[in-house]
């Protein structure tokens, strides 16, 4: 029951942070959220900032440059955007750290299956990505050249894309065989 209540709290939080457009109100709610997660606050703040830094950084810089060239105001919009993304990310990490997702979604068989499938894939991919990194490390006698790094990254991208497509087909066939997707 506790996990389902947390899920409800999370969905409500996402809704709230999406519909509110007042920086002060989002700021207050974010502060409440940080206080609620008191002993995890520093870890969650760090994790949230790292997660959004690159994506939001690019958008922020691009928007500021665009606003400067077109003579628009940017401070309020950029602050609101970054605060909202941070609050949503923080809320998500807080939710995941507190809740057993399997229990929270146990009210729906389909959602539980989807979660199990996704979780299994994440674990497999995580392990394989680590093996890729170790295999490269094992073969590196010196710092890799730019070309080697490019080859390595593109290979991983191709491998996982290919594997995802193959796995998706296999999983969907297996689900069909077990009675899913029947109209």
């Amino acid at each position: 029951m506790r996990d389902k209540l947390f899920l409800l709290f999370y969905v409500f939080g996402v809704f709230l942070f999406t519909i509110i457009h007042d920086i002060f109100v989002i700021g207050v709610f974010s502060l409440i959220l940080v206080l609620l997660s008191y002993n995890q606050a520093i870890t969650l703040i760090r994790r949230s900032i790292i997660s959004v830094l690159l994506f939001n950084g690019v958008i922020t810089v691009s928007y500021i440059l665009y606003a400067i060239f077109t003579g628009r105001q940017w401070l309020e919009y950029i602050t609101l955007l970054n605060l909202r993304v941070f609050a949503l990310t923080y809320l998500t990490f807080f939710f995941i750290s507190k809740v057993n997702l399997f229990k929270a979604l146990s009210f729906s068989k389909t959602l539980t299956y989807i979660l199990i499938l996704s979780y299994t894939q994440i674990l497999i991919f995580k392990r394989q990505l680590n093996e890729f990194k170790l295999a490269l490390q094992s073969r590196l006698l010196e710092k890799p050249s730019r070309e080697d790094s490019y080859n390595f990254i593109s290979t991983i991208f191709y491998y996982f894309l290919n594997k995802s497509m193959r796995n998706t087909k296999e999983i969907s066939d297996a689900m069909k065989s077990r009675g899913f997707f029947v109209e």
């Binding site: 394989q128 093996e131 890729f132 170790l134 295999a135 490269l136 490390q137 094992s138 073969r139 590196l140 006698l141 010196e142 080697d148 080859n151 390595f152 290979t155 991983i156 191709y158 491998y159």
Partner: protein
């Protein structure tokens, strides 16, 4: 014979769970060692420690009497020498392959050494491993067995002193496994090979190291003797029990064969 690898009371934990407990053994130059254990017993982790990819929380690992530490493996000169001398064949060859052609894959390590006879060495090892005809082909399109051969050629081209192989036959069909056994027999370097295939193990080396389900080293010695010791085999969970029939007689006992 000179000791090339020495492990003293190595323990490794992953997320508070033991993967290896108090492992000690040493390896003499030129030895061919078979590391046996069921899935999850810690075989791959042990190879990764020996290859300096991960580091134990307890114990010491010496390579040629040098204590291997994280700090030492950040020193450029040492890394270059260590990675040339101790090579690792991963279980899944896909994780090792990333160059545009088989030629580039085999030449990858050699180019880092900046030696003169790269072309000659690439062709020599490609020929020896039977992948010469694929030199201009992207390695991604090859079969599992062929990829394994390309990876082996890439590692052996460095002329290493120690080769670590993680379940090298798991991607091979019976014919390629036969080829691999012959190839290994002629290979004159120190090898540590993991497997859980008992019937194959005797073909891979004479000395066996056996990890138990609780991640301890429970046997270090002659492999043939281990395979005749049913109590040890049971302890390592490397035997299975099932019913089988001889005509009308049905009985049940331990088996060491693979399915």
């Amino acid at each position: 014979m000179e000791t090339i690898i020495k492990l003293e009371n190595i323990s490794y934990k992953y997320e508070d769970e033991y993967v290896l407990r108090d492992i000690s053994f040493d390896v003499k130059k030129g030895e061919k060692i078979v590391l046996l254990g069921i899935n999850g017993s810690g075989k791959s982790t042990l190879l990764k420690i020996i290859n300096g990819l991960i580091f134990q929380q307890k114990g010491n690992y010496y390579y040629k009497n040098t204590l291997i530490t994280k700090k030492l493996l950040k020193k450029k000169d040492f890394v270059k020498q260590f990675r040339k001398e101790v090579v690792f064949l991963f279980q899944n060859p896909d994780t090792m392959i990333f160059n545009p052609t088989v030629y580039d894959e085999i030449a990858f390590g050699l180019r880092q050494l900046q030696i003169d006879d790269i072309d000659e060495r690439v062709k020599h090892w490609a020929e020896k491993l039977g992948v010469y005809k694929y030199l201009d082909t992207p390695p991604f399109n090859l079969s599992g067995g062929e990829k394994q051969k390309v990876c082996l050629a890439s590692l052996l081209a460095l002329e290493p002193e120690v080769i670590l192989m993680d379940e090298p036959t798991s991607n091979l069909d019976p014919r390629s496994t036969g080829w691999f056994i012959d190839f290994l027999y002629e290979l004159d370097i120190t090898t540590i090979i993991t497997t859980h295939n008992l019937s194959l193990s005797l073909e891979l080396g004479e000395r066996g190291l056996v990890l138990s389900e609780d991640h301890r080293l429970i046997y270090d010695g002659n492999l043939k003797e281990f395979l005749n010791d049913i109590e040890k085999l049971k302890e390592a969970n490397l035997v299975h029990i099932h019913k089988h029939r001889h005509g009308k007689i049905e009985h049940r006992h331990y088996h060491t064969h693979d399915f």
